[in-house]
């Protein structure tokens, strides 16, 4: 894969569109009439800097809707940085600078008229360590709807919270203790609470930054199930250290190395038949 391919308007066309189609058809819910998946996020020539240090070099990548895309690569390869470019979380870091084009539904997120507040309400994010606010479970989920003024009445808010918790598969476990503090839950529950919190504002994209790295295997399995579930409605981007996880949950995979996008494509293909030797080395565990 050539990294700085300016003509990557439709990178999913061509040789690897076939296996993708089969993949999509295999999941009946997402199967659209079109054989071409919708492109949700389109990135071209993205560079990122922390002060003097360049962290990303000319990333161009298209991310499809209603599917899971995994970013893999060794530590410090820029995959988290790239993830944070999508919802402009890098704005909060002093000295961080992003250039290039990132479009969601055709609109540049770095555009002048773009309000990061609105952007982030459309692009949810889940972090490495579960970070519920020190509030009740209910208030945690209600946080987003409250600040964005999504609910007009108390009962509507309660409904939104319930829907979000149900979708995150947490409702049955917490329905009777919504007023208890969110940090009283177990790690896995906390992470699902955080996902529910992100879902509650009805985002279109969900970014996940190593969501399972702080969890035990059982909790991890539940989260992975949840991700697979959510894929039917959202465009999901997940950064992971675990190649097994990438293989389990994602349909497409992008491999980053030293701030560059080395290779991306169908997950199966990346894992079974990588084109780049560096990818091969990483996947087989020579480094990373």
């Amino acid at each position: 894969m050539v990294m700085s391919d300016p003509s990557s308007e439709a990178p999913l066309s061509g040789p690897h569109s076939m296996p993708h189609d089969t993949q999509v058809r295999a999941t009946p819910v997402a199967a659209g009439a079109s054989s071409q998946p919708d492109i949700k996020i389109h990135c071209a020539g993205v560079d990122a800097f922390y002060g003097e240090k360049q962290a990303l070099f000319d990333i161009s990548l298209d991310i499809p809707d209603r599917a899971v895309m995994a970013f893999i690569g060794p530590s410090g390869c820029g995959k988290s940085t790239f993830l944070r470019c999508i919802n402009r979380m890098n704005d909060t870091i002093p000295g961080a600078r992003v250039t290039g084009r990132i479009e969601i539904d055709g609109q540049d997120v770095n555009g002048k008229d773009v309000d990061p507040v609105v952007l982030r309400s459309r692009v949810g994010m889940v972090f490495q360590k579960p970070n519920p606010f020190p509030k009740s479970i209910f208030e945690n989920v209600a946080y987003g709807p409250r600040i964005h003024g999504l609910a007009t009445s108390k009962s509507e808010l309660a409904d939104m919270v319930e829907v979000a918790l149900k979708r995150a598969g947490l409702w049955d476990e917490v329905a009777d203790r919504l007023q208890q503090p969110g940090n009283g839950l177990s790690g896995g529950q906390q992470q699902r609470l955080v996902i529910a919190r992100a879902i509650a504002v009805q985002p279109r994209v969900i970014l996940m930054d190593e969501p399972c790295s702080a969890l035990d295997p059982i909790a991890t399995a539940r989260i992975e199930e949840l991700i697979d579930d959510l894929r039917r409605q959202y465009c999901i981007v997940i950064v992971t250290h675990s190649m097994a996880q990438a293989a389990r949950v994602s349909q497409r995979t992008a491999f980053f190395h030293l701030g560059r996008l080395v290779e991306h494509g169908m997950t199966e293909e990346i894992f079974t038949n990588p084109r780049e030797p560096r990818t091969q080395d990483y996947i087989t565990g020579r480094y990373g």
């Binding site: 773009v114 507040v117 609105v118 459309r122």
Partner: protein, 423 residues
């Protein structure tokens, strides 16, 4: 974003949210502005009122020591000020009236220094009687204020401290070059006095230095060693946590309470002298002890455990590890804490009032046990003084005190910034 077709309700809500955000940010900026504004006003006020302290005026007089008017049998009984005033009147070509009113008013323009200076010269060598001596002495405080424009001719005569005649004379003296303005070195070489033009900060500075020395000699070793014990040796348990709580609370005890402790313990029970640098220093030592302990502990904590392990691994004992490796590494942080604690002690006033440091002390303290004044208390005393000339001296003394504080704080900041680079 992403959706250019926000509903009107959502759009207006968003607008309101951003307005709230800007307001909130503005509150923050206003708060900073208020705090820094107060600082600026405070410093400006002090400088505005105090800068004139460092400039003063002196008058040069040639006094004929008329043998007929000097009683050799009782030198101290002679009124040399009067003699000098007569000389001044002669220079001004004014004839004294029968009651000596003119001489009296002239005397009020020249510092009493001239009398003492003449007396000293005669005592040193009686043969000067009959000759003419030329001396330069400060003008009286009110005359000085007139030259500085703080007493004005336009003010109605009954509202100012100088009569019309005196003002005429002052103008004349200035014209004839009798009076010269110069840097007020006397402010730094003299001690407290009831006469503003003779008052300086030297006694207070020396007193403060002595007191700080005592405080440092007691508090620094005790505080550092106590912190070393608590951090490196003390068994972690009830005792050490009790001591820790104790120290944290001591650090927040009002300073005036330390003054009461000093009054009862040192003065009443142990019979220490009142108003002495020794007593004051011990009170300040007790006061800064908790701060020094807390700072030292924080600094010891920040030394990475790997250094301890390395030394212990070489077969050093715990004591050797601490004193050869950990403490030297922590030293910059310790020194920062110590300097800040001492700077704070330097500016402390209330506890010293409790141990009787408000007494008027004209000279320099001779020993640690003799009465002394210190800078902050000197400021307090001058602030209460009635004479207008003490007002500028109050601010002048504050400038001296702040200069010391700024030097100490800068030293601490420099040390800290060096220290921070290390780990």
């Amino acid at each position: 974003m992403t959706d250019p077709h926000l509903s009107p309700a959502a759009a207006s809500r968003l607008k309101a949210r951003h307005a709230a955000e800007r307001r909130f940010r503005l509150y923050g900026q206003l708060a900073i502005l208020v705090a820094l504004g107060f600082l600026a006003v405070l410093l400006a006020r002090v400088v505005h009122q105090g800068y004139s302290t460092f400039w003063t005026h002196s008058v040069t007089l040639s006094v004929y020591l008329d043998p007929a008017r000097i009683d050799r049998s009782d030198l101290e009984g002679n009124n040399f000020d009067y003699l000098a005033a007569g000389d001044l009147l002669k220079r001004l070509e004014v004839n004294d009236d029968a009651l000596g009113l003119a001489s009296g008013e002239a005397m009020d323009l020249v510092s009493r220094d001239i009398g003492f200076a003449l007396l000293d010269r005669i005592k040193a060598d009686p043969r000067v009687i009959g000759t003419t001596l030329t001396l330069t002495v400060p003008v009286k405080a009110n005359a000085d204020l007139y030259y500085k424009g703080q007493i004005r001719r336009e003010t109605p005569a009954e509202d100012r401290k100088l009569s019309n005649r005196q003002i005429d004379w002052l103008d004349q003296m200035k014209r004839e070059g009798l009076v010269k303005g110069h840097f007020n070195s006397g402010f730094f070489t003299r001690s407290d006095s009831t006469e503003p033009e003779q008052a300086g900060v030297l006694g207070a500075v020396v007193g403060s230095a002595l007191m700080l020395l005592v405080a440092a000699l007691i508090a620094v070793p005790t505080g550092v060693l106590a912190a070393v014990w608590l951090e490196e040796f003390a068994p972690k348990g009830r005792l050490s946590s009790f001591i820790e709580v104790n120290i944290n609370n001591l650090a927040a005890v009002p300073s005036i309470v330390y003054g009461l402790l000093g009054l009862v313990l040192f003065i009443n029970w142990l019979g220490f002298p009142r108003s002495a640098p020794l007593t004051g220093g011990m009170v300040l030592a007790l006061m800064s002890l908790p701060t020094i302990i807390i700072a030292t502990r924080a600094s010891l904590k920040s030394v990475p455990p790997s250094i301890r392990e390395a030394a212990l691994g070489m077969g050093a004992s715990r004591t050797q590890t601490v004193f050869h490796h950990v403490l030297p590494q922590a030293m910059p942080g310790v020194m920062t804490g110590v300097i800040l604690a001492l700077a704070h002690a330097l500016g402390e006033t209330a506890p010293l009032l409790m141990i009787g440091m408000v007494a008027f002390t004209p000279g320099l303290p001779e020993t640690l046990q003799s009465a002394a004044s210190v800078l902050p208390v000197q400021i307090f005393i001058w602030e209460n003084a009635a004479e207008a000339a003490f007002h500028e001296r109050t601010a002048g003394a504050i400038m001296v005190l702040l200069a010391f504080m700024i030097v100490m704080n800068t030293a601490a900041v420099i040390l800290r910034s060096r220290f921070e680079k290390r780990w």
